[in-house]
Subunit: 481 residues, 2 copies
């Protein structure tokens, strides 16, 4: 795509559209390193706002940030059997350093459970040292064969929470607490409604007892796993011998959790809200929420519109709005509008000579809708307009998701749906991994989650959607990223 | 060191003292990976506050954050001759990934100039695309033989700024602007007075035209390079062919800068202010600024002191103070004081039954000085007390530095000083690298900087401190970390 050619429409080729949006909005770029991306300032700005919001939420729930080494001795990965099976094939390995071959190769962390549990044993002796509630903002590396900007890159940025508790119940509670934090963030910051529930064994994190997930539906009706929260039981505690003295004086292994979201969320945001003009960024995560475009012909008009624009910018900034003025000469207003729309700025304020005379600006929402705004009321009206956009984006995404969620799916419907328009298919599930595997091979759909109670259908399914044996649980299928 | 043994006094063994302080304050720990450290929450909290302050300063001067890949193709490093010579010997190299040998090994970034310049050519075509003002918060790896917690670790966290400009003058101006930002941060946040100036060729960044630095003096009178800002000229632009069309329509290579500070600053903070009791943290960078310790015997007293303590905490929190209450039962007040002092909390507020009755708390400054504080005035008096501590720490550090700065040093004095008490030795310098090398071999001192005008001696030196040839510039020598 080039600026001249425009953006490929979603209906033509969703995947090409996605890349075009990223390029036009200058969110990221391909790097000369296989599978690695460069996150450009406009994309990184979204990630910074995500980080700030999530970090505040983690701290409000008692977590503290720490930092563990990038490198993990290869032998550590092997200590947890499932874990090494899951991660070893996709590791990048340092074998040479300081000009010499290393005695033990070092794996570039794909996730940090092993290195963290190797330390916890040193810090935790008694129940008084628990719970340990840690989070880490870091880069991780997983050698993926097929990569996509933001969605699946060899290196990505994420946060990984790691907690250790005295009881199983407390660890399970933590797992669910974080799942709720993620959902809150996704819905109220990203305007992305998510379905929560537990993963089947086939989709479980390598080394976890249970994996919970938040699943969003993108505009091409494919699911995207937006965040996961794992109850690890005592698996890693046993592998790394992290024991503590209980209140009764006996010894026990700690119970632990881990949970993470990544820069993949930027991809989710793009695919949930973007349109054929480009990015649509929810106001709460928009690095720039309002762009003011002065419109003038004469020097006199230029001076007058700029003065009003700069004053408005100062007032809005003081009210906590992220705003700028497009001061560029030699560029027509229409071209500016087109550029800022492609970049997803939620609200545009146009100020021409007539607006100056009338003490107003013309507002144009990125998602449609124009109205004049009195400059005198701007500091109350503009934040309201932004809130309205935020709310509307969530409502639209929720309506779209509901429209593409089918309940009580039959086998035929499941096949037809997955080969056709896609979406979330709710249906009965026998719980047999073999059946799950056949469905995956036949329809390319996976069980996204066994949904949490509030998402379950009013009428519990009786038979498995595929094999007709009794259903042990409802499940939600979709093709996924 | 163990909590029982106490901290090694600075005078006995400064290096042991440094490690003891870190362990007692739980700032960091050794990891099972050679040369890598774990930054624990109390240490990471200081780094987070440093990041926030610096990030605000970078953004206020027009910089934006971005993120570039961790891995750099080995061939990229080789494109700039001095750069590869400086960094190649200490790189960690990924040779195997996804289960296969890589065709071209990937270096784990020791710094990101090369990967960034490989992208800049794509983004910069014309003078209109300049300046590019980027910053990146990231981890980097340099395979060091001798490592020290925070000061020199194989992996460390830092920020690296990278900017590109249309003219040499503009790039040079940027280099100095950032040097001033660093100094401002070090003095006004870290309470660390720093000497600024330019490095000699021997100490220059590999690939730079000129390196400027901020140098602090630690309590053992060794210098610590706290931050550097490099004018890169067109070196990297030529190596990566980053050309742009000038306003005149001709083509030119961009002029660039890079600059960085790292988690080493946490080490500097410890060594600048700590005492034989433990950490002393400047209030502006203290994750916890005030600890409230209720003192009670009866349940009734406990209820009364806790109520006052919690109310005070709420009021101070609302005023922007980072404060907590030590609610632990079964631990004597003295033991609590000892612990919080070791952790460097700037101010302690003791609240006993008599204080409750009198509507006051007893304040105790970490750096000495007790006074009662009326609870009614707490939200104004406490911030003032914290400001006072911040100011006093800077004044103390400045006095200590000045006391250990010798001007017009002779050869004999330089030798005596470097073999004895240490400090900054100002003297004339012939500018000859050979002379510099001899001094280094003989005294273990290096030229820290050729000082900026405001730090130069009133009387310019006439002869080189070592060879007695004419001095071309004043220089400052010290043994350094």
């Amino acid at each position: 795509m080039s600026a001249d050619k425009g953006i490929t429409p979603r209906a033509t080729d969703f995947s090409a559209w996605y890349n075009d949006v990223i390029m036009r909005a200058e969110l990221a770029d391909y790097s000369p390193v296989r599978g690695c991306m460069v996150i450009r300032p406009r994309g990184y700005g979204i990630w910074e706002l995500m980080q700030r919001a999530l970090d505040d939420m983690f701290k409000a729930t008692g977590h503290q940030n720490a930092y563990f080494p990038l490198f993990i001795p290869e032998s550590f990965l092997r200590r947890e059997a499932e874990h090494v099976e899951g991660f070893a094939p996709e590791t990048a390995v340092v074998t040479r350093a300081g000009g010499k071959e290393l005695e033990e190769p070092l794996v570039v962390r794909p996730t940090s459970e092993t290195i963290i549990y190797s330390m916890l044993g040193k810090w935790v002796q008694s129940y008084r040292d628990l719970p340990v509630l840690l989070n880490q903002w870091a880069n991780v590396v997983r050698w993926e064969l097929r990569t996509r900007l933001f969605l699946r890159t060899t290196e990505f940025l994420w946060q990984e929470g790691h907690t250790a508790h005295a009881t199983s119940a407390e660890a399970e509670e933590e797992t669910l607490k974080i799942l709720a934090v993620y959902r809150d963030f996704m819905e109220n910051w990203m305007a992305l409604p998510v379905l929560t529930g537990v993963k089947t064994d086939a989709e479980r994190f390598a080394g976890a007892v249970r994996t919970y997930a938040c699943e969003g539906l993108m505009q091409d009706n494919k699911a995207l796993q937006a965040g996961t929260s794992h109850f690890l039981g005592q698996n890693f505690a046993r592998a790394f011998d992290v024991q503590f003295q209980t209140m009764d004086g006996t010894m026990d292994y700690v119970w632990s959790t881990s949970w993470g979201v990544s820069t993949r969320l930027v991809g989710a945001l793009i695919m949930a809200h973007g349109d054929d003009v480009g990015l649509v960024c929810p106001p709460r995560l928009a690095p720039l929420q309002v762009i003011i475009v002065p419109i003038w012909r004469s020097d006199e008009e230029r001076a007058a519109t700029f003065e009003v624009a700069e004053r408005l910018k100062a007032e809005l900034t003081a009210s906590g709005v992220r705003v700028d003025v497009d001061r560029r000469d030699g560029m027509k207003p229409g071209a500016k509008y087109y550029e800022w729309e492609g970049r997803g700025v939620p609200l545009r304020l146009e100020i021409g000579p007539r607006d100056v005379a009338q003490g107003q600006a013309m507002s144009a929402r990125r998602i449609g809708g124009k109205q004049p705004v009195s400059l005198a009321d701007a500091t109350t009206v503009i934040p309201d307009l932004l809130d309205g956009i935020q709310t509307e984006l969530l409502a639209r995404a929720r309506a779209r998701r509901d429209e593409h969620s089918v309940r009580g799916t039959t086998k035929e419907q499941l096949i037809e749906l997955m080969e056709g328009q896609g979406g979330f298919a709710y249906g009965g599930f026998c719980g047999d991994g073999a059946c799950e595997q056949v469905i995956k091979e036949r329809t390319k759909a996976t069980v996204r989650v066994l949904p949490d109670p509030e998402f379950r259908s009013a009428e519990a399914p009786v038979r498995c959607v595929w094999c007709d044996r009794p259903s042990v649980t409802e499940a939600v299928w979709a093709r996924a990223y």
